[in-house]
């Protein structure tokens, strides 16, 4: 099993550009999450999904969008990138909600200049 995979690993965006961060998992997990981690800080939840077709906002959803058309994939869309979105983005999945361990992908390091 590959676990949770993320692409790209690194990306530099100019202010105002858009991009999609890809995330896939092969563990048949229902729950998937997107977090951002600023330097030296903890993880902040952006969006999460409890199954295909169902998504919900986390703590910091502004400036982002998600979709979940399949169990495996959970892409994160950045529209009109801003310097404040410079961060490391982690995707994670779990069998169910907050009482189950989360499996994290390797992360995408995004810089907006």
């Amino acid at each position: 099993n590959a676990g949770v995979t993320q692409t790209p690993k690194f990306r530099i965006l100019k202010i105002g550009q858009s991009m999609t961060l890809q995330c896939a998992q092969d563990m048949n997990h229902n729950y998937m999450y997107w977090y951002r981690q600023d330097p030296g800080m903890g993880l902040k939840l952006i969006y999460y999904s409890v199954g295909a077709g169902i998504t919900d906002k986390g703590e910091v959803p502004n400036g982002y969008n998600v979709s979940r058309s399949t169990t495996e994939d959970f892409p994160l869309r950045l529209e009109l990138a801003a310097p404040s979105q410079t961060s490391v983005y982690f995707c994670a999945s779990s069998q169910a909600g907050g009482y189950y361990e989360q499996y994290f992908g390797p992360g995408t390091r995004l810089t907006v200049t």
Partner: protein
């Protein structure tokens, strides 16, 4: 939703010394999970505690959940260079969100 505070933010130790990080909440927690993130890496699950007063051990690591389920600790005995990283506690988010809320982490720096 639930929130957890971690202290200290940074801890420098000599190799071989012990290390402890604390996770505190003002409200009763339903669970605590601990994760480790190596420099440049991603968080990796270590353990979950759910019972009042629960103590679990993994080799040199000891995890405790307080009797009131408002605090937790992770203790590492005789640190090694492989223990370097950031240790996060996380709890069930609550408030209608079925996920985890993470503390800001304790960065463990080990001097050989």
């Amino acid at each position: 939703g639930q929130q957890v505070m971690q202290i200290p933010q940074y801890q420098h130790v000599q190799e071989g010394e012990d290390f402890t990080t604390y996770c505190n909440s003002s409200t009763t927690l339903s669970n605590i999970q601990w994760y480790k993130q190596r420099p440049g890496g991603h968080p990796v699950f270590l353990i979950q505690l759910v019972k009042s007063g629960e103590v679990k051990k993994q080799k040199r690591l000891t995890f405790q959940f307080g009797e009131a389920k408002k605090n937790s600790s992770l203790h590492i005995t005789a640190t090694q260079t492989t223990d370097v990283g950031t240790y996060f506690c996380a709890c069930h988010s609550g408030g209608g969100a079925d996920g985890l809320t993470f503390g800001k982490g304790t960065h463990l720096i080990i001097q050989p």
